[in-house]
Symmetry: C2
Subunit: 200 residues, 2 copies
Protein backbone atom coordinates (compact mmCIF):
# COMPACT_ATOMS: atom_id res chain seq x y z
CA UNK A 1 0.00 0.00 0.00
CA UNK A 2 1.00 3.63 -0.50
CA UNK A 3 0.59 6.55 1.86
CA UNK A 4 0.59 10.06 0.47
CA UNK A 5 1.93 12.38 3.10
CA UNK A 6 4.43 15.09 3.97
CA UNK A 7 7.15 14.45 6.55
CA UNK A 8 6.50 17.45 8.80
CA UNK A 9 2.69 17.40 8.75
CA UNK A 10 1.11 16.68 12.13
CA UNK A 11 -1.77 14.70 10.63
CA UNK A 12 0.50 12.45 8.53
CA UNK A 13 2.52 11.90 11.70
CA UNK A 14 -0.51 10.39 13.41
CA UNK A 15 -0.66 7.65 10.79
CA UNK A 16 3.12 7.13 10.90
CA UNK A 17 2.74 6.58 14.65
CA UNK A 18 -0.03 4.04 14.09
CA UNK A 19 2.14 2.26 11.50
CA UNK A 20 5.04 2.14 13.95
CA UNK A 21 2.83 0.86 16.78
CA UNK A 22 1.49 -1.87 14.48
CA UNK A 23 4.96 -2.53 13.02
CA UNK A 24 3.63 -2.13 9.48
CA UNK A 25 6.13 0.38 8.08
CA UNK A 26 7.75 -2.21 5.79
CA UNK A 27 4.43 -2.76 4.00
CA UNK A 28 4.03 0.91 3.09
CA UNK A 29 5.53 3.05 0.33
CA UNK A 30 5.45 6.76 1.21
CA UNK A 31 4.75 9.30 -1.52
CA UNK A 32 5.43 12.97 -0.77
CA UNK A 33 2.78 15.60 -1.45
CA UNK A 34 4.33 19.03 -0.89
CA UNK A 35 2.06 21.03 1.41
CA UNK A 36 4.09 24.20 0.89
CA UNK A 37 3.45 24.05 -2.84
CA UNK A 38 -0.24 23.37 -2.20
CA UNK A 39 -0.09 20.06 -4.08
CA UNK A 40 -2.92 18.81 -1.83
CA UNK A 41 -5.22 21.51 -3.24
CA UNK A 42 -4.53 20.77 -6.93
CA UNK A 43 -7.27 19.23 -9.12
CA UNK A 44 -5.64 15.82 -9.53
CA UNK A 45 -5.34 15.40 -5.77
CA UNK A 46 -8.84 16.74 -5.08
CA UNK A 47 -10.26 14.30 -7.62
CA UNK A 48 -9.39 11.41 -5.29
CA UNK A 49 -9.75 13.25 -1.97
CA UNK A 50 -12.48 15.86 -2.05
CA UNK A 51 -11.37 17.44 1.23
CA UNK A 52 -7.80 18.01 0.00
CA UNK A 53 -6.16 16.70 3.15
CA UNK A 54 -3.15 14.58 4.01
CA UNK A 55 -2.50 11.79 4.75
CA UNK A 56 -4.17 9.50 2.23
CA UNK A 57 -3.85 5.74 1.93
CA UNK A 58 -3.96 3.92 -1.42
CA UNK A 59 -4.64 0.20 -1.28
CA UNK A 60 -3.22 -2.22 -3.83
CA UNK A 61 -6.67 -2.48 -5.46
CA UNK A 62 -6.66 1.28 -6.12
CA UNK A 63 -9.00 2.22 -3.24
CA UNK A 64 -8.20 5.57 -1.63
CA UNK A 65 -8.84 6.09 2.09
CA UNK A 66 -8.36 9.60 3.48
CA UNK A 67 -8.64 10.93 7.05
CA UNK A 68 -6.24 9.92 9.83
CA UNK A 69 -8.83 8.14 11.91
CA UNK A 70 -10.14 6.16 8.92
CA UNK A 71 -6.64 5.09 7.92
CA UNK A 72 -5.89 4.09 11.51
CA UNK A 73 -9.15 2.14 11.56
CA UNK A 74 -8.07 0.29 8.40
CA UNK A 75 -4.57 -0.46 9.71
CA UNK A 76 -5.90 -1.58 13.09
CA UNK A 77 -8.33 -4.02 11.46
CA UNK A 78 -5.44 -5.77 9.71
CA UNK A 79 -3.79 -8.58 11.66
CA UNK A 80 -1.28 -7.76 14.32
CA UNK A 81 -0.95 -6.41 17.83
CA UNK A 82 -1.29 -4.07 19.54
CA UNK A 83 -4.90 -3.04 19.10
CA UNK A 84 -5.07 0.74 18.88
CA UNK A 85 -8.79 1.47 18.54
CA UNK A 86 -10.13 -0.75 21.32
CA UNK A 87 -11.29 -4.31 21.80
CA UNK A 88 -14.49 -4.23 23.87
CA UNK A 89 -17.43 -1.96 23.01
CA UNK A 90 -16.56 0.23 26.00
CA UNK A 91 -12.92 0.53 24.95
CA UNK A 92 -13.88 1.31 21.36
CA UNK A 93 -16.32 3.98 22.48
CA UNK A 94 -13.92 5.65 24.90
CA UNK A 95 -10.96 5.61 22.51
CA UNK A 96 -13.03 7.04 19.69
CA UNK A 97 -14.38 9.72 22.01
CA UNK A 98 -10.97 10.81 23.23
CA UNK A 99 -9.49 10.69 19.75
CA UNK A 100 -12.27 12.97 18.53
CA UNK A 101 -11.88 15.21 21.57
CA UNK A 102 -8.13 15.52 20.96
CA UNK A 103 -8.96 16.73 17.44
CA UNK A 104 -11.76 19.04 18.48
CA UNK A 105 -10.06 20.65 21.44
CA UNK A 106 -6.42 20.58 20.36
CA UNK A 107 -5.22 19.26 16.98
CA UNK A 108 -7.85 20.86 14.76
CA UNK A 109 -7.88 24.04 16.84
CA UNK A 110 -4.12 24.43 16.38
CA UNK A 111 -4.50 23.71 12.68
CA UNK A 112 -7.12 26.45 12.32
CA UNK A 113 -4.87 28.86 14.21
CA UNK A 114 -1.92 28.01 11.93
CA UNK A 115 -3.90 28.36 8.70
CA UNK A 116 -5.89 31.45 9.69
CA UNK A 117 -3.92 33.56 12.15
CA UNK A 118 -0.35 33.00 10.93
CA UNK A 119 1.05 33.08 7.35
CA UNK A 120 0.36 29.34 7.36
CA UNK A 121 1.47 27.68 4.14
CA UNK A 122 1.85 31.03 2.40
CA UNK A 123 -0.43 33.28 0.35
CA UNK A 124 -0.67 30.92 -2.62
CA UNK A 125 -2.16 28.15 -0.45
CA UNK A 126 -4.00 30.16 2.23
CA UNK A 127 -6.46 31.83 -0.14
CA UNK A 128 -8.95 32.56 2.65
CA UNK A 129 -8.00 33.52 6.18
CA UNK A 130 -10.12 34.58 9.14
CA UNK A 131 -7.62 35.76 11.74
CA UNK A 132 -10.20 36.37 14.46
CA UNK A 133 -11.40 32.79 14.16
CA UNK A 134 -7.78 31.61 14.18
CA UNK A 135 -7.04 33.37 17.46
CA UNK A 136 -10.29 32.10 18.96
CA UNK A 137 -9.24 28.54 18.13
CA UNK A 138 -5.74 29.17 19.51
CA UNK A 139 -7.33 30.07 22.85
CA UNK A 140 -9.47 26.94 22.65
CA UNK A 141 -6.32 24.86 22.07
CA UNK A 142 -4.64 26.40 25.10
CA UNK A 143 -7.64 25.49 27.26
CA UNK A 144 -7.54 22.02 25.71
CA UNK A 145 -3.91 21.57 26.74
CA UNK A 146 -4.85 22.26 30.35
CA UNK A 147 -7.74 19.80 30.10
CA UNK A 148 -5.50 17.00 28.78
CA UNK A 149 -2.82 17.92 31.32
CA UNK A 150 -5.39 17.33 34.03
CA UNK A 151 -6.25 13.90 32.66
CA UNK A 152 -2.61 12.88 32.34
CA UNK A 153 -2.02 13.82 35.96
CA UNK A 154 -4.57 11.22 37.00
CA UNK A 155 -3.72 8.35 34.63
CA UNK A 156 -0.98 7.38 32.17
CA UNK A 157 -3.10 7.41 29.01
CA UNK A 158 -5.71 9.79 27.66
CA UNK A 159 -8.42 7.28 26.80
CA UNK A 160 -7.90 4.28 29.07
CA UNK A 161 -5.90 3.22 32.09
CA UNK A 162 -4.54 0.14 30.36
CA UNK A 163 -1.68 -0.48 27.99
CA UNK A 164 -1.71 -0.80 24.16
CA UNK A 165 -3.11 2.69 23.68
CA UNK A 166 0.04 4.74 23.71
CA UNK A 167 -0.60 6.26 20.30
CA UNK A 168 -3.43 8.31 21.72
CA UNK A 169 -0.95 9.96 24.01
CA UNK A 170 1.50 10.26 21.14
CA UNK A 171 -1.18 12.11 19.20
CA UNK A 172 -0.90 14.75 21.88
CA UNK A 173 2.85 14.66 21.53
CA UNK A 174 2.43 15.54 17.88
CA UNK A 175 -0.07 18.21 18.83
CA UNK A 176 2.54 19.77 21.05
CA UNK A 177 5.07 19.73 18.20
CA UNK A 178 2.52 21.25 15.85
CA UNK A 179 1.70 23.84 18.46
CA UNK A 180 5.36 24.65 18.83
CA UNK A 181 5.75 25.02 15.08
CA UNK A 182 2.70 27.28 15.03
CA UNK A 183 3.87 29.43 17.91
CA UNK A 184 1.25 28.25 20.42
CA UNK A 185 2.81 28.14 23.87
CA UNK A 186 1.60 25.09 25.72
CA UNK A 187 1.37 24.40 29.42
CA UNK A 188 4.53 22.92 30.85
CA UNK A 189 2.73 19.89 32.25
CA UNK A 190 1.71 18.59 28.86
CA UNK A 191 5.16 19.09 27.46
CA UNK A 192 6.70 17.20 30.35
CA UNK A 193 4.29 14.29 30.03
CA UNK A 194 4.74 14.13 26.30
CA UNK A 195 8.49 14.27 26.57
CA UNK A 196 8.18 11.03 28.48
CA UNK A 197 5.74 9.56 26.01
CA UNK A 198 7.97 10.27 23.05
CA UNK A 199 10.69 8.18 24.64
CA UNK A 200 8.61 5.02 24.80
CA UNK B 1 -28.02 2.65 29.35
CA UNK B 2 -29.03 6.30 29.18
CA UNK B 3 -28.64 8.74 26.31
CA UNK B 4 -28.65 12.45 27.04
CA UNK B 5 -30.01 14.25 24.01
CA UNK B 6 -32.53 16.73 22.67
CA UNK B 7 -35.25 15.63 20.27
CA UNK B 8 -34.60 18.18 17.51
CA UNK B 9 -30.81 18.15 17.56
CA UNK B 10 -29.21 16.83 14.37
CA UNK B 11 -26.33 15.16 16.20
CA UNK B 12 -28.58 13.33 18.68
CA UNK B 13 -30.59 12.20 15.65
CA UNK B 14 -27.57 10.41 14.25
CA UNK B 15 -27.41 8.19 17.34
CA UNK B 16 -31.17 7.65 17.32
CA UNK B 17 -30.81 6.43 13.72
CA UNK B 18 -28.01 4.04 14.74
CA UNK B 19 -30.19 2.76 17.62
CA UNK B 20 -33.08 2.18 15.23
CA UNK B 21 -30.88 0.39 12.68
CA UNK B 22 -29.51 -1.86 15.45
CA UNK B 23 -32.97 -2.27 17.01
CA UNK B 24 -31.64 -1.20 20.41
CA UNK B 25 -34.15 1.52 21.33
CA UNK B 26 -35.75 -0.59 24.05
CA UNK B 27 -32.43 -0.80 25.91
CA UNK B 28 -32.06 2.96 26.15
CA UNK B 29 -33.56 5.56 28.46
CA UNK B 30 -33.50 9.05 26.93
CA UNK B 31 -32.80 12.04 29.14
CA UNK B 32 -33.50 15.51 27.74
CA UNK B 33 -30.86 18.24 27.91
CA UNK B 34 -32.44 21.50 26.75
CA UNK B 35 -30.18 23.06 24.11
CA UNK B 36 -32.23 26.26 24.04
CA UNK B 37 -31.56 26.79 27.75
CA UNK B 38 -27.88 26.01 27.23
CA UNK B 39 -28.02 23.11 29.67
CA UNK B 40 -25.17 21.48 27.70
CA UNK B 41 -22.90 24.41 28.60
CA UNK B 42 -23.60 24.35 32.36
CA UNK B 43 -20.84 23.25 34.78
CA UNK B 44 -22.47 19.97 35.82
CA UNK B 45 -22.76 18.86 32.20
CA UNK B 46 -19.27 20.07 31.27
CA UNK B 47 -17.83 18.13 34.21
CA UNK B 48 -18.69 14.88 32.46
CA UNK B 49 -18.34 16.06 28.84
CA UNK B 50 -15.61 18.66 28.44
CA UNK B 51 -16.75 19.62 24.93
CA UNK B 52 -20.30 20.38 26.05
CA UNK B 53 -21.95 18.50 23.19
CA UNK B 54 -24.94 16.26 22.75
CA UNK B 55 -25.58 13.36 22.51
CA UNK B 56 -23.91 11.60 25.39
CA UNK B 57 -24.20 7.95 26.39
CA UNK B 58 -24.09 6.77 30.01
CA UNK B 59 -23.38 3.09 30.56
CA UNK B 60 -24.79 1.16 33.50
CA UNK B 61 -21.33 1.23 35.16
CA UNK B 62 -21.35 5.04 35.12
CA UNK B 63 -19.02 5.47 32.11
CA UNK B 64 -19.84 8.45 29.91
CA UNK B 65 -19.21 8.29 26.16
CA UNK B 66 -19.72 11.48 24.15
CA UNK B 67 -19.44 12.14 20.40
CA UNK B 68 -21.84 10.63 17.84
CA UNK B 69 -19.24 8.50 16.13
CA UNK B 70 -17.90 7.12 19.41
CA UNK B 71 -21.41 6.23 20.60
CA UNK B 72 -22.16 4.57 17.26
CA UNK B 73 -18.88 2.66 17.57
CA UNK B 74 -19.96 1.42 21.01
CA UNK B 75 -23.44 0.44 19.87
CA UNK B 76 -22.12 -1.28 16.76
CA UNK B 77 -19.67 -3.36 18.79
CA UNK B 78 -22.56 -4.78 20.84
CA UNK B 79 -24.19 -7.90 19.45
CA UNK B 80 -26.71 -7.57 16.70
CA UNK B 81 -27.04 -6.93 12.99
CA UNK B 82 -26.72 -4.93 10.86
CA UNK B 83 -23.10 -3.83 11.10
CA UNK B 84 -22.96 -0.08 10.64
CA UNK B 85 -19.25 0.74 10.84
CA UNK B 86 -17.90 -1.96 8.51
CA UNK B 87 -16.71 -5.55 8.69
CA UNK B 88 -13.51 -5.82 6.64
CA UNK B 89 -10.57 -3.42 7.06
CA UNK B 90 -11.45 -1.82 3.70
CA UNK B 91 -15.10 -1.34 4.71
CA UNK B 92 -14.14 0.08 8.08
CA UNK B 93 -11.70 2.51 6.48
CA UNK B 94 -14.12 3.70 3.80
CA UNK B 95 -17.09 4.08 6.16
CA UNK B 96 -15.02 6.02 8.68
CA UNK B 97 -13.68 8.24 5.91
CA UNK B 98 -17.09 9.07 4.52
CA UNK B 99 -18.58 9.57 7.96
CA UNK B 100 -15.81 12.04 8.73
CA UNK B 101 -16.21 13.69 5.34
CA UNK B 102 -19.95 14.10 5.88
CA UNK B 103 -19.13 15.92 9.11
CA UNK B 104 -16.34 18.03 7.68
CA UNK B 105 -18.06 19.08 4.48
CA UNK B 106 -21.69 19.18 5.56
CA UNK B 107 -22.88 18.48 9.11
CA UNK B 108 -20.27 20.48 11.00
CA UNK B 109 -20.25 23.24 8.38
CA UNK B 110 -24.01 23.68 8.76
CA UNK B 111 -23.64 23.65 12.53
CA UNK B 112 -21.03 26.43 12.39
CA UNK B 113 -23.29 28.44 10.09
CA UNK B 114 -26.21 28.00 12.48
CA UNK B 115 -24.26 28.94 15.60
CA UNK B 116 -22.29 31.82 14.07
CA UNK B 117 -24.27 33.44 11.25
CA UNK B 118 -27.82 33.09 12.58
CA UNK B 119 -29.23 33.82 16.05
CA UNK B 120 -28.53 30.13 16.73
CA UNK B 121 -29.63 29.08 20.21
CA UNK B 122 -30.01 32.71 21.30
CA UNK B 123 -27.74 35.29 22.92
CA UNK B 124 -27.52 33.51 26.27
CA UNK B 125 -26.00 30.40 24.63
CA UNK B 126 -24.15 31.90 21.64
CA UNK B 127 -21.73 33.96 23.66
CA UNK B 128 -19.21 34.22 20.79
CA UNK B 129 -20.19 34.51 17.13
CA UNK B 130 -18.05 35.04 14.03
CA UNK B 131 -20.57 35.70 11.25
CA UNK B 132 -18.00 35.82 8.46
CA UNK B 133 -16.78 32.35 9.41
CA UNK B 134 -20.37 31.17 9.60
CA UNK B 135 -21.14 32.29 6.07
CA UNK B 136 -17.87 30.79 4.83
CA UNK B 137 -18.93 27.45 6.30
CA UNK B 138 -22.42 27.79 4.82
CA UNK B 139 -20.82 28.05 1.37
CA UNK B 140 -18.68 25.03 2.14
CA UNK B 141 -21.80 23.07 3.10
CA UNK B 142 -23.49 24.03 -0.16
CA UNK B 143 -20.49 22.75 -2.13
CA UNK B 144 -20.57 19.62 0.02
CA UNK B 145 -24.20 18.98 -0.90
CA UNK B 146 -23.27 18.99 -4.59
CA UNK B 147 -20.37 16.65 -3.90
CA UNK B 148 -22.59 14.13 -2.09
CA UNK B 149 -25.26 14.54 -4.75
CA UNK B 150 -22.69 13.47 -7.32
CA UNK B 151 -21.82 10.35 -5.33
CA UNK B 152 -25.46 9.39 -4.82
CA UNK B 153 -26.06 9.65 -8.57
CA UNK B 154 -23.49 6.93 -9.10
CA UNK B 155 -24.32 4.55 -6.26
CA UNK B 156 -27.04 4.03 -3.66
CA UNK B 157 -24.94 4.65 -0.55
CA UNK B 158 -22.36 7.23 0.33
CA UNK B 159 -19.63 4.94 1.64
CA UNK B 160 -20.12 1.58 -0.05
CA UNK B 161 -22.12 -0.01 -2.84
CA UNK B 162 -23.46 -2.76 -0.59
CA UNK B 163 -26.32 -2.97 1.87
CA UNK B 164 -26.33 -2.57 5.68
CA UNK B 165 -24.94 0.94 5.55
CA UNK B 166 -28.08 2.95 5.19
CA UNK B 167 -27.42 5.07 8.24
CA UNK B 168 -24.61 6.82 6.44
CA UNK B 169 -27.11 8.03 3.90
CA UNK B 170 -29.55 8.82 6.66
CA UNK B 171 -26.89 11.00 8.23
CA UNK B 172 -27.15 13.12 5.13
CA UNK B 173 -30.92 13.09 5.47
CA UNK B 174 -30.54 14.60 8.90
CA UNK B 175 -28.04 17.08 7.50
CA UNK B 176 -30.66 18.19 5.03
CA UNK B 177 -33.18 18.65 7.82
CA UNK B 178 -30.65 20.58 9.87
CA UNK B 179 -29.83 22.66 6.82
CA UNK B 180 -33.50 23.39 6.30
CA UNK B 181 -33.90 24.41 9.94
CA UNK B 182 -30.86 26.66 9.59
CA UNK B 183 -32.02 28.27 6.38
CA UNK B 184 -29.41 26.66 4.12
CA UNK B 185 -30.98 25.94 0.75
CA UNK B 186 -29.72 22.59 -0.50
CA UNK B 187 -29.56 21.19 -3.98
CA UNK B 188 -32.73 19.43 -5.05
CA UNK B 189 -30.87 16.23 -5.92
CA UNK B 190 -29.83 15.56 -2.35
CA UNK B 191 -33.30 16.24 -1.07
CA UNK B 192 -34.83 13.86 -3.58
CA UNK B 193 -32.38 11.08 -2.78
CA UNK B 194 -32.82 11.53 0.92
CA UNK B 195 -36.58 11.57 0.64
CA UNK B 196 -36.20 8.04 -0.68
CA UNK B 197 -33.73 7.07 2.03
CA UNK B 198 -36.01 8.22 4.80
CA UNK B 199 -38.69 5.84 3.56
CA UNK B 200 -36.56 2.74 3.95
Amino acid sequence: MKIYDWPTGPYPARVRIALAEKNLQSRVQFVSVDLWKGEHKKPDFLARNYSGTLPELELDDGTFIAECTAITEYLDALDGAPTLTGRSPREKGLIHMMSKRAELELLDAISVYFHHATPGLGPDVEIYQNAEWGFHQRDKALRGMHYFDGILKRRPFVALDGRHHGHRRLDLCRAREAAGASGVRGSSGLVRKDAGASQR
